[in-house]
């Protein structure tokens, strides 16, 4: 039986434990053997994203040491998975097990669709939901077709959510515009970041969404911060939290 190493991004661990727990429940309900290696901390993205590659390197090396023993690594984050898959090469290329790690680390929805081969989602979610396609999951992991490309449309996250009974996935005017989080960008370029976020929220509001759903808690944290400051009736939810009540098969 294959063993999954659960990778919970640092800020999810510390600030959004419910997202980690939902992820764990979704995987366990599928009968998957999940392990959470406690030595894990952070994938190194904040440092790498700031150009401080040398400060990110030790975290990449730790990550490899901790996670290479699993058959698969699963995380409720497109961005952190992209870090492992697309940006670790510069430090870890040629190291034993790196190819294995790189090709077996998955974002949750990607894992459910491509590896666990979930085809049926049985559950209720009678809400109007706007799906926020976070950029790294969209354009680095290709969880869906980005609006710039002319290839055949697909969307692995929508594929799962759309099956829930009662869910209404609303159509946004801009299907995949960035919310403006962008890691350190959120504070370095605070003004533009927040304007982007407010515009994104307005698009969801206009489409009639009650909930903004996403697969990257970082984007949701940024949007939620803006929503709460403005006392808007919208809520944000991680896809794992929506799926945890459903039966996947």
């Amino acid at each position: 039986m294959s063993k999954v190493g659960l990778f919970i991004p640092c800020y999810v661990d510390q600030m959004y434990p419910q997202v980690g727990l939902a992820t764990l429940r979704v995987l366990r309900r599928l009968g998957i053997d999940v392990d959470f290696p406690e030595e894990q901390t952070c994938c190194g993205q904040p440092m790498a994203n700031s150009g401080c590659a040398e400060y990110a390197r030790p975290l990449a090396e730790r990550f490899l040491r901790i996670f290479s023993k699993y058959d698969h690594v699963v995380a409720p984050s497109g961005s952190c998975v992209s870090m492992v898959r697309n940006h670790y090469t510069q430090w870890l290329e040629g190291k034993p097990d790196f190819d294995h790690l790189r090709t077996t680390t998955f974002e949750l929805c990607e894992y459910l669709v491509d590896v666990a081969r979930v085809v049926k989602v049985d559950g209720d979610f009678p809400c109007k939901v706007g799906l926020h396609m976070s950029c790294h999951g969209l354009r680095e992991l290709r969880l869906g077709r980005s609006s710039e490309l002319t290839v055949k449309p697909f969307n692995k996250v929508r594929l799962l959510l759309a099956q829930l009974r009662g869910i209404e996935l609303v159509e946004l005017a801009r299907s995949d515009e960035c919310c403006g989080f962008g890691g350190t960008f959120a504070v370095n370029e605070e003004a533009v970041s927040c304007l982007m976020g407010r515009d994104r929220i307005a698009d969801h509001e206009k489409a009639g969404a009650e909930i903004i759903a996403g697969f990257d808690t970082s984007c949701l944290m940024h949007l939620d911060g803006l929503i709460r400051r403005q006392n808007k009736p919208l809520r944000v939810m991680h896809v794992a939290e929506i799926l945890e009540g459903a039966k996947l098969s």
């Binding site: 700031s50 950029c135 370029e189």
Partner: protein, 456 residues
């Protein structure tokens, strides 16, 4: 020095205008989408264009020399300029030797890059930009704010006011047709009086020694067929090997740039005018390009065909305006090219991106823009062009995150302290996150606390 973030904040502060700018450019992006979707082989075209550019860059010296040979045998005079100063001196000498004092120009971002206009004006030559947008910003003594839509930052009312002052149109008039008509007759006089015309080059073809200029207003054609002398200025990266390569690039260019199937005018130049005194000069300019060519990580940025699609799609550009970049070429591609030329002056630009990757997916020649921006951040840190306090913060963060005990301790402290801070302090000026956003709620227990309890 003022970085992108400060200038962007000023632009974004006028929210109505920032939204208007965003929507104007998004409209162009949507036009581009419709055109791209109408071509079943769009992705293949992008792939082919990227491959042709990569090949050409790999033997650019050979192709440039082939172009030079073929141009010369067509009667074109070819000049080589190492940098902007040489370029300006060459153009000036051509004009001065012939006693030319009135020059009309059509869209050339290269001459903007080299600051040709002020140079020539200082030497007593009247330079008139003849593209409508370019003329507008020239009359305002401003640089273009976008490489394809140079006056996109202005509303029709702004232009009405400018034309009233400069061209004597009726006060308060802002009807685009009326204003365009006024510009047209103003420019017509400039064309008639010009002694030389200067254009940019979209594509120079090695095998024929000819080149192509794409415009929508026909002004390049006017400026090169009325006066006898035509000077065309090109960066070394404008070269393509074969005429048939145009079949790929011309299909991509206008669709990506403005969402048109093709530009209104696509003019092929193969030699000087046959009228008396007809001369055609091509100035081939390096100005830092071969230094970029020498850097493998960033080489692909030289594939750029200057369509501006990355600007139209960039959520940051749309909300911060072209001037926030402080360089001739703004937006994602400019955020690469500018710091590659002057790392210290333009160090903030690669950080003026959320790395959303929309630019890379929209780029018709598949420049991996957001990955190059990411790599350039690293390069700037290595060169110590990024402020020390930012590097120090990352050093501290890294050493905490590399030690599970320190990470757990820091996490617990944060979750304990933040909710207990007085609101005035928690949201004080030290906290840019909290200026417009609430901080995340701090749970009592971390995920790993739950797991630990579970296993006990």
């Amino acid at each position: 020095m003022i970085g992108h973030a400060e200038k962007a904040a000023t632009f974004a502060a006028d929210e109505g205008r920032a939204h208007w700018h965003d929507q104007s450019l998004w409209f162009v992006r949507l036009k581009r989408d419709r055109q791209a979707e109408s071509i079943p082989e769009w992705e293949d075209l992008r792939e082919a264009a990227a491959a042709i550019k990569a090949h050409t860059l790999s033997r650019i010296a050979d192709y440039l020399e082939e172009f030079e040979r073929n141009s010369r045998s067509n009667g074109i005079q070819v000049h080589w300029a190492r940098d902007g100063a040489e370029h300006n001196a060459i153009v000036h000498r051509i004009l001065a030797d012939r006693g030319i004092t009135r020059l009309v120009k059509s869209k050339s971002m290269l001459t903007e890059e080299c600051h040709l206009n002020p140079y020539l004006e200082a030497h007593g030559i009247e330079v008139t930009d003849t593209d409508l947008g370019e003329r507008i910003v020239q009359l305002r003594h401003e640089p273009p704010s976008h490489i394809v839509l140079p006056a996109i930052h202005l509303k029709k009312e702004d232009i009405g006011e400018l034309f009233h002052k400069e061209l004597g149109t009726a006060e308060g008039a802002s009807d685009p047709k009326y204003l365009t008509e006024a510009a047209r007759s103003h420019l017509r006089q400039k064309f008639m009086a010009a002694q030389a015309g200067l254009t940019g080059v979209n594509f120079a073809i090695a095998e024929t020694g000819g080149f192509v200029v794409c415009t929508n207003e026909g002004n390049a054609d006017m400026g090169t067929s009325l006066p006898p002398v035509h000077i065309a200025c090109m960066g070394i990266e404008k070269i393509v090997p074969r005429t048939k390569d145009l079949a790929i690039f011309l299909r991509l260019l206008a669709r990506s740039a403005t969402g048109q199937p093709v530009t209104t005018y696509t003019t092929h130049f193969h030699g000087p005018l046959s009228t008396p005194g007809g001369e055609l000069h091509v100035v081939i300019v390096d100005n830092g390009r071969s230094a970029i060519l020498g850097q493998e990580t960033f080489r692909r940025s030289l594939s750029c065909i200057r369509c501006g699609a990355c600007m139209n799609t960039c959520p940051v550009f749309r909300r911060s305006g072209g001037y926030s970049y402080g360089y001739t070429v703004p937006g994602p591609i400019g955020s690469l090219l500018a710091p590659l030329r002057d790392p210290r002056k333009f160090a903030s630009l690669p950080f003026a991106s959320s790395l959303c990757g929309s630019c890379s997916d929209v780029c018709p020649v598949k420049i991996d823009l957001h990955h190059e921006l990411y790599a350039l951040r690293e390069e700037l840190v290595r060169k110590k062009a990024v402020p020390l306090h930012k590097r120090m913060a990352m050093a501290v963060l890294s050493s905490v995150l590399a030690r599970p005990w320190a990470y757990r301790l820091a996490g617990s402290l944060m979750r304990w302290i933040l909710p207990r801070l007085p609101r005035d302090f928690a949201y004080g000026p030290w906290n840019p996150w909290g200026r417009q956003r609430e901080l995340p709620p701090m749970p009592q227990q971390s995920f790993r606390d739950f797991i630990k309890k579970e296993s006990e």
